[in-house]
Every structure is written in structure tokens, then in C-alpha cells.
Amino acid sequence: MQQDVTQGATTVLEYLAKPLKALQEWLSPVLPGDEWAAYLAFALYVLIIIGGALGAVLSRNLIRAMLGLVMTFLGVAGMYLLLASPFLAFMQLLIYVGAVCVLIFFAVMLTRNTDGGEESRLPSLGQLFYGALAFLAPLAVAGPFIVMHAGRQALETPKTESTASLGAGLLGSYVLPFELISIILLVAMAGAVYLAFRGYAPKRGGEKT
């Protein structure tokens, strides 16, 4: 079985070798060195993130905005892969795309905010102005700071930590934050259930909440 998988991967690589070589030669004036594929993937993920975020912020239909959000989540998962954290990329897909997006979908549907809802009108001119201001402000404040304080020499390539070391950290040195986050999740869930069912409880003479 292992043999077959390795052989298959080798065959795929051989099949792709020629177009990859041509791509590298085509890109060599712009992206020199051995890391051209990483830079290419980074540019692709940034494009995915920007496109998704534009959809999430500007779309007049909240379901489409949620789909843009899913796109952004996928781009960020790709970034985690580039940062040599495959477990985190997997968790990003599992938690964000799997759980948070379903919650947002429920929120959109339960408040009847689909097409033709409150968001379907364009924001007013003043709102758009303040939105553009709010978009530019963090870029103008923190962007030059980040660029000015950029390191001079190249950093070493990040290493992949094993998932076992992550688990050892969670149950070893960092067991307190781990338990705290469990309690926070439990309290949030309990509070959510209480809030959602409070109005439906049978009245017993008390005032309706």
C-alpha cells in the first residue's frame, strides 16, 4: 500500500515536471532562487484572501458575504500551510469553515436577512466614506511601521512541529489556558441555550421576559 502511494506520487511529479520547469523559467526574472513556488503560492493565497474579503464586506446579499468569508478562511488555511503548520490549517477548515460558517448561516436564516433584506440597499455616501477611512486608517498607521521594522537578513525556513508536541503543550505547560477555554466554550453554549429558550418557557404568573 505504502509502495503504491509513493509510486503514484512519483508518477504525478514526473508528469508535472515539464510544465513546472517551464513555469519556473518563465518566472525566473521576477522570482529568483529556490523559493519561487512558495512565493507563487503566497501570491495566490493573498489573491484568494483579498477577493474573499471584498465579497464578505461589499456583497449586498449576506449569504454571498458568508461565501466570501469561506473563501478568506480557505486562503488563511493556505497561509498556515506555508507557515509549516498543517495541523492548524486543518483546524482552520474544521472550526471556521465547518462550525463558525454554519453558525453564521443559521444567524442569516433565523433573522430572515437573505436577499432583499436590510443589507440589500447600498450604504449611504457618508457610511461609505467612513468605511473607506476605516479601511485606510490601520493600513496607514501599522503598514509603514511593519515595513520599516522589517528584518534585513532572510529568516530560516519554519520547521514543522509534530502534532504530538502540540498535544503535550496543551496537557503540560499550558493546561490552565486549555481548561479555561473549555470553560468559556461551555459557558457560552449554556448562555446561548438559555438566551434562545428563555422566551419560550411556560409562563408561571411572572412577567414575560
Partner: protein, 102 residues
């Protein structure tokens, strides 16, 4: 310019998009979507910083990002319940119309 700069700029972009969405969205649901954008940028910057600085423990950065994800999940759950209450009480979830506390 190291790779850390690029990753930090990408997460800064996510933050900017999130804030702009907070301003321009009218409903609480749209604001929730913007908050998730910003939280993603936060997680990305944490992991990028921990992975790029040689002295830092990379596993610690991943754990911090995992905690951010857990907080985001808890926050989304709670906001869903709040939206239900607001919808039942006011009939709509636009930020402009919710102006009473009791």
C-alpha cells in the same frame, strides 16, 4: 523585507477589511462576519510571528492561534443566541434600531 513582513501585511489587510465591514454593515449579522475576518487576521499574525522568530517556540504560536479559534467559536455561538433574542424583541437586527437596554 523578510517573509514575516509579507505575512504581517496580509493579516493587516484582513484587519482593515474587518474594520471597514464593521462600519459599512447595517445588520448585526454583517458585523459578525466582519469580526470573524478580524479574528482570522489576528490568528495569522500570531502564527507568522512565532514561526519566523528563531528564538520563539513555534508550537506555542500554534497553541495561541488555536485559543483564538476557540474564542471565535464561543463568540459566534453567543452572538447567534443574542441575534435570536434581538430579532424576537425588535423584529429586526439592524444596529440603528436597537437603542433600548431594557
Amino acid at each position: 523585507m523578510t517573509t514575516l513582513t509579507f505575512f504581517l501585511l496580509a493579516s493587516l489587510l484582513l484587519l482593515a477589511f474587518g474594520i471597514a465591514g464593521m462600519i459599512t454593515r447595517r445588520t448585526l449579522v454583517g458585523m459578525l462576519i466582519s469580526v470573524e475576518l478580524m479574528l482570522n487576521g489576528a490568528g495569522l499574525s500570531i502564527v507568522a510571528a512565532y514561526k519566523s522568530v528563531p528564538a520563539a517556540d513555534g508550537a506555542l504560536g500554534q497553541l495561541a492561534a488555536l485559543f483564538v479559534m476557540g474564542l471565535a467559536a464561543a463568540e459566534a455561538t453567543l452572538i447567534l443566541a443574542m441575534l435570536l433574542v434581538v430579532q424576537r424583541r425588535f423584529g429586526k437586527v439592524t444596529a440603528r434600531d436597537i437603542s433600548v437596554l431594557r
